[in-house]
Amino acid sequence: MTKPLLDVKDLRVTFHIRRDGDMPWALPRQLRAVGGVDFALKPGETLGIVGESGSGKSTLARALIGLAPATGRAEWIDGADLIGMTPRQMLKYRADIQMVFQDPLASLNPRMTVGQIIAEPLTTHHPGLKRDEVKTRVKEMMEKVGLLPNQINRYPHEFSGGQCQRIGIARALIVEPKLIICDEPVSALDVSIQAQVINLLIKLQKELGLALIFIAHDLAVVKHISDRVLVMYLGKVMEIASSDDLYANPQHPYTQALLSAVPIPDPVLEAEKSVVPLVGDLPSPMNPPSGCVFRTRCPRAQSACAEQVPALMGEGHQVACHFPGPLTEAEIAAVAAREARPVPA
């Protein structure tokens, strides 16, 4: 077995929130955005991360590049722990881990030309490079991501959303990283442009042997691009499996609910498919449920779920659930009936 490029163990991100009006000596309340995530990423592999809004996907990504305060371990391939590094130590690894952001236009400084934007990581990590060397490399990179190199002096507002995302990708790629974290890179784009950008990412990944962490809430997109998929809920991993396995054979009730919500582009099938309804809202990460965090909305929740936190178990296909397995029709019907009535508090 090859050594993983990135081995994350028990990664936690907790924010300390002070409310207005709190006394200065009052303990700040804790918001647990990511509560103990484990996964390993092989070189050249694509890991998709899915989950609803507020499940801690983006915080996880930000923790990995040191933008959010984290505890735990994230071991890089050379044995270094990325968590808790000083900025100076981290600088060396920042060239290896780059990030592509969600909003293509907002992630580009409006007062800088495209050339300056793409060159920024390069000049930061290789300050000795000559001006025309930088320019040649920027132009090469623009060509690689499908931009005309003669547009190097243009400003971000002169480009479309898809082009801006290509600029963002070029900026991430110019320092030849080993891992790119894509934080919902296509959710702000039109469907046709989404396909272009995703295919560009796949193509570049093959060419350059990159590993990708691909965060999205569009399950179809994640299926298309990922080798493995990680399902998150309220800062916890629910299920990790290879993409084919997860989509064909989801074990965790939450994964099943998520997958059943994906629309099928066929009205007849769409009308007939059984949807697992999720009752209620995402609980507050300030006050997460005891035991399994999903139990408040789970159709199969039992008293054991409230008492013990389920561990992530299994080889290859890992599930964090006391009672994994496909939901039966009866269980789905029971949830549907529960949804019809107001939930007793």
Binding site: R94, M99, S107, R111, M112, Q151, H157, V175
Partner: protein, 308 residues
Amino acid sequence: MVIEQAKMQSLASRMVEHEVKGRSPWADARKRFVRNKAAMAGLVILILVALFALFGAHFAAWSNEELDYNVMGQVRELGMPSIASGHYFGTDDLGRDVYARTVQGTGISLMVGIVGAAIAVIVGTLYGATAGYVGGRTDQIMMRTVDILMSIPYMFVLILLLVIFGRSIGMLFLGIGLISWLDMSRIVRGQTLTLKNREYIEAARATGVPSWKIVLRHIVPNLLGVVAVYATLLVPLMILTESFISFLGLGVQEPLTSWGALISEGAGTMNYGTLWQLAFPLFFFCITLFGFFFVGDGLRDALDPKDR
């Protein structure tokens, strides 16, 4: 259809080779500014006033130090503005040429305004951007310091400074510079707080750009719109402050002069029929203030992101 393939191809490759010049947000703003008639008029006025201050002395028949003994004592009858006598704007009570004095005063007043505003822009921008970007306790300490400095009645301190350390123009610059950056730093800090969590700042942090470079390269250029507007409105404020101090007799000292000092002198003799001593400095004072306000207004319209 017959299209000359070779020609089309060379055209296409030429188009690709030629680097397209981008249209920067600054160029856009400049275009909007030029289209604004009031702002352009203000700018023209300011340029004319500046030229007057720089080159007006060459056209003066009298220097600002000479006394015209012929008119002394009969200023009301003989000292009125006339081309023939060389006193284009008349003379003051001592027989000095008001034209030459106005040129001199214009220069000094503009300098006070611009230096004051420049101090405010440089110190205020860097201070505010640092406080806003670093945040946390540093921000608290830096901004509370500003609050404390603001709560001191600055006119009182300025007057004390001038009384204790002597009335010199250097002291005046120092005093005005000390107070002018406070407001600016607050405005800049507020703007920085809104910019700091933008994704492009995050992208720069993720790639390891050092903090001071983020402030200078990403935050300050995006603040400059607000800063430019505020600076143009600050210049007249500085001029007004200096004029007020000079009006009190504490500011610029003889033989130097400024608009405030000239207006003060002119106002003193208003009742004796020598109105030109007041009118000419006041005229330049007013059009300059108008000019700055129009330009500031135009800049605000041109740089306002909501227009985009």
